[in-house]
Symmetry: D2
Subunit: 359 residues, 4 copies
């Protein structure tokens, strides 16, 4: 192992740069050369590379986003090319394997979510010496206790809840905050408890508006004229259609179709007469400087990714188990979502705090 | 002057509690009794009062919102009452005058925006010993250099821009941030410059999407693959219809009708093919702890409001002129909006920094 | 169990109020009456009590400190009373037992560090139905994975490091930050990694100034003209006298005797000629709003403390094991310090990131 | 004017990089070439230069410190050189004039405090086309309403006060916070009011410990068992020796000699028996990301500095007057300190808020 490459794939996330920095610093200690790949797997196809050294990795620890760029699409195994007006999908994986050989890259680190790590797994099947670093703001990867970015996203959501609290209280309103979580309600659950929400609505526990209103009314009865509700974007009503539409936050489709928060808010306002307002956090959850905890975790993952390459643990992903960083096979780590078990302790504890889940 | 009352009216704003605290502390020094009025002018009609002393004013300096509660409506001169299914408007001002006399309140402090201050002015015409404290996040009151809440709102907007920056850069996207400012673009202008925006769109300078795209393309040409755009909610296209719809942020109407940001974003994406995303800050701008600057200004206003009552400067409003707090007649202070002069120095300076206004 | 009491002991810590709030909300759900004890164990001797209900527990989640007050001393088993000019120590534990009986308190929750929990253990030996909630900013309690307050303290330290970074870089200086940790270097270790320190000095790994300077010189050789050093207050030189003096941070003794940071700084400046500056965080680490993570953990502990009382798990302490809250015997939980194992993975990972421990 | 240079002198300050960025962007719009001078005036002597373009000025707006480096000493008119063990001072100003000519630099922008601006003034007397940008965290420059960095320093101090508040309240302590301000108490005054201090001690109003204790006792009498005191580092007792020692914050001299805060704290503790603790903010006030307000002001100054060079306004300094940026002669701007007038309105207002000045 003399020369390694690193790429970031999928949506951006606080801590990506901290991983890159840790990779460069660790590699430098072992005398390895490091190359950065621009814009995810696409860069491996087109040869968009950039050398990384201690100087270029300086000042990255607290910086959000990724200096390498990233993209949500562009799977080399199913690469979209335009032919006339139509898209055709071709397999560029062979090209990528040849490129890596040509560039004399002995090992690849893929930092990404389930999508990017699945591509990494497929490359490993082709024989590529690749390791993965898990990245998901939603904390929905089953193979690691937690990933970097999650603590930062929760912190952003709680800061928003602290702000909405004062408005809710001053105006005697119901305030809804919609946070990320299409399939898993972890952000809503953690932020809701830490931010003092009265109701938390997550995909794993189907809600009825009647039960949400019941919670609001219980507060009214006890003299509290405002309520705070946290809604995961993937929340769904009891008996509701579970086909989650792939609506991009902040897109005009989202505007047109409306999100679940707006539907809940409309029903609350209609049935209670209380002023009800929605705030959608959207991209704010992905951006900004990572929290200290995320910087620490991202740094540890970066160290391990290099060590895994050196010790030949290919086809594996760095993971946090207990307090330790270990490695798990990509084959096992991908394709499975970690959702909130509706009967888990944390949900039960939230109920003890008089938080309703609308069920 | 032995007994004074204080009320907060209109939308909530960081610093309201700091004014209340300063009123109580100053009044206490002069041996005055202080009564708080709940939920704005409505509380004067229905007698929703609460005594305020040093203990109840403790811990308020950094707290957002208003402990007195507030409401956006409820003008005693035109008070809405339901008769069957219809609303009828009646004049309750006489009732309020009688109430204040009955409660032996010798002076009233109204903390509010143009709407609340206009009501205060009307009560002054009836002979009420009333003084005003200006409050507007938008900074659109003509009679004071600046009001508290504005610095906090700008700070929240800049923090959001800092977060969007990392995502924009990582994904090579155009990111739009919609901030408050229905008629005046001050928040967008200040936050845009301080947050490193590439384009700022404000109500006072009608935009064309073509010009906005020109700015984006100029950046692309210089190697910058992302752009940040700040849009005031009241922005309007050249020749555009200026009838600003009263869309409540976070309401379902807003969702259905769509805001100006979504219209601009759709046009950019269509015409450039660049991924374009919208974030609407909405209520986050009103909430949370005031900045030190706003706490200082709010405290000074509170001190002066009491002094104005004591010295008999009724019908006047506290205002910041230069670095000093002075008082100005409510008759002159209300009914005039302070908008951004399109040819002002600050706009010119922003242009020097290569910020486009889409014009 | 109809009536429970709660007290906070030892140094204050972000999250104490969040525990109190969770205790009250949970107890309320079970129909229990809750009494707050003022100023730690002292309040049990003198009967300084205050009723706690949902209203008094409102708004506590994000508030630092403890509304109940606390004190670092006042052990009822060895209570200091002045006799003339001398202190005499008497056993007031019987009095406390009698008081609790008289007040009809069926169960007591003690939130505190090793000192307070040891007192709780001793009361349990006397038959008191008591449970503990662990509190230590230093994270040095052996029986729980982590305690609330630690994440907040690390966050404050990292924010300070981010600020010192810009000065160090601009002035080409060596900047030392002294953080808490008399016996355990956890704060220094976590904050140092997350804050990009070049050297971390902790009590568990004795340092030599020569090795610290070696790290600084290695940076100089690579073109980095500044260095950041994090020092735990209990750091000690190789062969150094390990009798840690009980110097109160911010006290005049500390000033006169000087802390370890100043000794290290003086030696660096003397031997390298580089400008070297010290910042002592001191009390800033204890104060302020808890991070979301600490709010969540504190809330969970509060829920469990009530449940432990109800289920009769007396003489035990709530603890975090893995992701779950469990209970452990106070007999086992107290009296043992959890220090940083010098050969632990986290230290090894830090070394991979080119962080020196001065050894 | 085809080629301009920019340097930063004196202590670092949030906003320096924002000025540099604005200079580069504005100059770029006018087609000027920009050169950065490293480490203040020293760089002009030794030719430590670096080209600045839009790429190198990217990402600077929110970054603390100065990418150009700075130094507190090194006056070219009195440049210290070592001869054996002694320092000799020589005039290198001619060398600097010759260098600038040789490098074909047509105009110089000096960003600095009173010291650096005085050097700029002296160079202007020699005929150098130089303009100044005022920089002082202390806000003690007489020729401008305010300078960038001040709002950031006040914000850091208020954040510290918010944290100390919770500890003071929980432990019933007196907490002292020492902030910057050797001659001018602006930071202490603004931060003290905005942070809810009970006592503010500034150089301009000599204190007696007896009066400070009087304020503490007045609080005790009203049931408040804690007090918060803000002390400017240059505070002095009535009749006290006004020769302010040049003690470097964080230096070992400071430790040995002790600062004014420690002297006050010792006296309070002795005379009242209340636990009293000192926190010295020191370098934390200089570092970190500038507030939005400081970013805006710094950007405006940068724009104007370039415009002043272009329009031939040499020997002048950018200044904020009212809301506008104007230029004033360096001859008038330097050498005069703006201190807090003891009878100014802001001090009077603070007294209305029941803040004592220890007088």
């Amino acid at each position: 192992m003399k020369h390694i490459a690193v790429l970031t794939g999928g949506g951006d996330c606080p801590g990506l740069n901290a991983v890159i920095r840790a990779v460069v610093r660790t590699a430098s200690g072992y005398g390895l050369k490091v190359t950065g790949v621009r814009d995810g797997f696409k860069g491996l196809i087109h040869g968009h590379l950039t050398p990384l050294d201690l100087a270029s990795a300086s000042g990255l620890l607290h910086r959000g986003g990724t200096i390498l760029g990233t993209t949500n699409r562009d799977n080399p195994f199913r690469y979209a090319v335009k032919e006339g007006d139509e898209l055709r999908y071709i397999d560029m994986s062979g090209q990528v394997m040849a490129n890596l050989k040509h560039w004399e890259i002995d090992g690849l680190i893929v930092i990404g979510g389930d999508g990017s790590l699945s591509i990494a797994r497929d490359f490993h099947r082709l024989g590529l010496p690749v390791v993965g670093v898990p990245k998901t703001i939603d904390n929905d990867l089953s193979a690691t206790d937690v990933t970097f970015g999650f603590d930062s996203a929760v912190t952003t959501a709680v800061e928003a809840l602290d702000k909405l609290h004062t408005t809710a209280e001053s105006h005697h309103r119901v305030m809804l905050l919609e946070v990320m979580g299409r399939y898993a309600g972890w952000i809503a659950l953690h932020a809701g408890i830490a931010g003092g929400a009265d109701v938390i609505v997550i995909p794993e526990i189907p809600y009825t508006t009647a039960k949400i209103i019941e919670a609001i009314n219980r507060r009214l009865a006890s003299g509290k004229r405002f309520s705070i509700i946290v809604v995961a974007e993937g929340a769904k009503p009891v008996g509701g259609d579970y086909t989650v539409q792939r609506i991009v936050p902040g897109s005009h489709e989202q505007l047109r179709l409306g999100g679940v928060s707006h539907r809940i808010a409309a029903e609350i306002e209609e049935q209670t007469g209380l002023e009800t307002r929605v705030t959608i956090l959207g991209h704010l959850q992905r951006g900004g400087s990572p929290t200290p905890r995320d910087r620490l975790l991202a740094s540890r993952f970066g160290v391990h990714a290099v060590k895994m390459l050196i010790s030949g643990e290919f086809g594996r992903m760095a993971a946090l188990h207990g307090g330790d960083i270990v490695s798990v096979p990509l084959e096992e780590a991908t394709g499975k979502l970690k959702t909130v078990p509706p009967d888990c302790r944390l949900v039960a504890e939230a109920r003890c705090l008089d938080i309703s889940f609308g069920d």
